[in-house]
């Protein structure tokens, strides 16, 4: 009946990440239970769910951040553009340049604004000379919508910026290595509403180039920024679908209970 909804946010149905039968164990704890999901390219996908549901754990599987935890064990198959990211031949450091990450608390390096952004391209050897590096830094800061605020003080320490600016600096740092996927773990939880709105606007712009996956505790944020929403509960992926549908007519009673504020 409705071929085209006004409020539906169009996406390309092109797969970026394909996860099949993903299981995560932290020692005895079974944190992720047999998750299958296809994450689309040039789309913002929100992971929602109560604390401890596994959404951050699953996010961290996507760039092998769980490798750094000794007791963590991951099973199943995760492919980005068809390539198995857990293949022994894959270098996790290279992978993380391709799959960037932004964390809950802004964590700029105790270096200048310029060096914060230049760090990744330097260690990955993405520039041949200073001019090229300058260009990458400027482009990244522009993409993170912070260039105009910092262009006159690139030598100032990144830690001297406001919380919202620091978070956008961290996003600039993440995009400097030309990633294809951006993972964001509650990127706005330490920010005020205005800074949050700026970061959300930025996320919408980033979607033009990247596949963005965001973990958020704010359901309203998930509703505002994402085109696809995945609801996790007790380590299961309960429901995954178009964000508008999830928030108006979810299929699973657990999803409905969670988004309407009934059970945790």
């Amino acid at each position: 009946m409705n071929d085209m909804r006004l409020t539906e946010r169009a996406v390309q149905e092109e797969k970026k990440i394909a996860a099949r039968g993903v299981q995560v164990f932290y020692g005895e704890t079974h944190a992720i239970k047999d998750v299958d999901v296809d994450i689309l390219d040039k789309t913002v996908t929100a992971f929602i769910g109560p604390s401890g549901c596994g959404k951050s754990t699953f996010l961290r599987c996507l760039n092998r951040m769980n490798d750094t935890i000794d007791v963590a064990r991951i099973e199943g198959d995760i492919r980005i553009d068809g390539e198995d990211i857990y293949d022994p031949k894959v270098d996790p450091v290279q992978l993380r340049a391709k799959v960037g990450m932004v964390f809950q608390k802004p964590n700029p390096f105790p270096k200048s604004i310029y060096d914060n952004v230049a760090y990744g391209p330097r260690i990955h050897g993405l520039s041949r000379n200073k001019a090229e590096l300058d260009e990458i830094v400027e482009k990244s800061l522009r993409r993170a919508a912070i260039w105009n605020e910092v262009k006159d003080r690139l030598d100032a320490p990144g830690t001297g910026l406001s919380g919202g600016q620091q978070q956008r600096l961290c996003i600039a740092r993440a995009v400097a290595t030309s990633p294809e996927v951006l993972l964001m773990d509650e990127p706005c939880s330490a920010l005020d509403p205005i800074a949050t709105a700026q970061v959300e606007e930025l996320i919408d712009e980033l979607r033009q180039r990247y596949s963005v996956v965001i973990v958020t505790h704010s359901m309203q944020q998930a509703a505002r920024v994402s085109q696809r929403t995945a609801f996790f509960h007790l380590g299961n992926l309960v429901e995954y679908g178009e964000t508008g549908t999830i928030f108006t007519n979810p299929e699973d009673p657990r999803t409905e209970s969670y988004i309407t504020g009934r059970i945790g």
């Binding site: 928030f247 108006t248 007519n249 988004i259 309407t260």
Partner: protein, 234 residues
Amino acid sequence: MVIDSAHIASAFDRDLEAIQALIMKMGGMVEEQIVDAARSLAERDEELAETVRKRDKQIDLLEEQINEEAARLIALRAPTAGDLRVVLTVMKMSANLERIGDYAKNMAKRTSILVQLQPVGNSAGSIKRMAKDVEMMLRDALDAYLRLDVEMSEAIRLRDQEVDQMYNALFREFLTHMMEDPRNITACMHLHFIAKNIERMGDHVTSIAEQVIYMVSGEIPDDDRPKLDRTSVK
């Protein structure tokens, strides 16, 4: 689906319950208006007709109050999923009920004129039965709303066809009376508008039943109900 269990924020439940209590109160008042308007006509009771006209104001005020509460609830609680559909349904239902109230008021207004005129046939009895049917449909629709009953709502949609048939029968009857004796024309015109008002009430009740289906299932029924008799639109 609409979930019965409580929210973590109990004030949210209180807000939702309060607004639903208002819609039930409004529904009850509108039912009474339909019955009284039809009775005032059948019994040529001018005083009752006047009461019906005056009471419509209270229904209008209730509609305003419901819309204000719904706007506050949307702004303050940002309802989603089933909760959102409850609020949307309540807003539409209040608009439907307000319109039904207006039709009842208009019936009463015409009754005040009709009591001054010579009665025509026994059409007042037919109109009273038709009004009774619509009032029962409304009662059932409100019941279906409270019970979250999709099947019951589907049945109400079908019952509206009977009301349409009664309207078409009355339409033919008035036509006959007017052709028989032109002095009947004034009364028949008013009676015809009354019958039409009741027929429109039935459409609004149908819309309420459809809203209940949407509220419970998330989907609006879109299959057109067949029109059986097209006498009045030829």
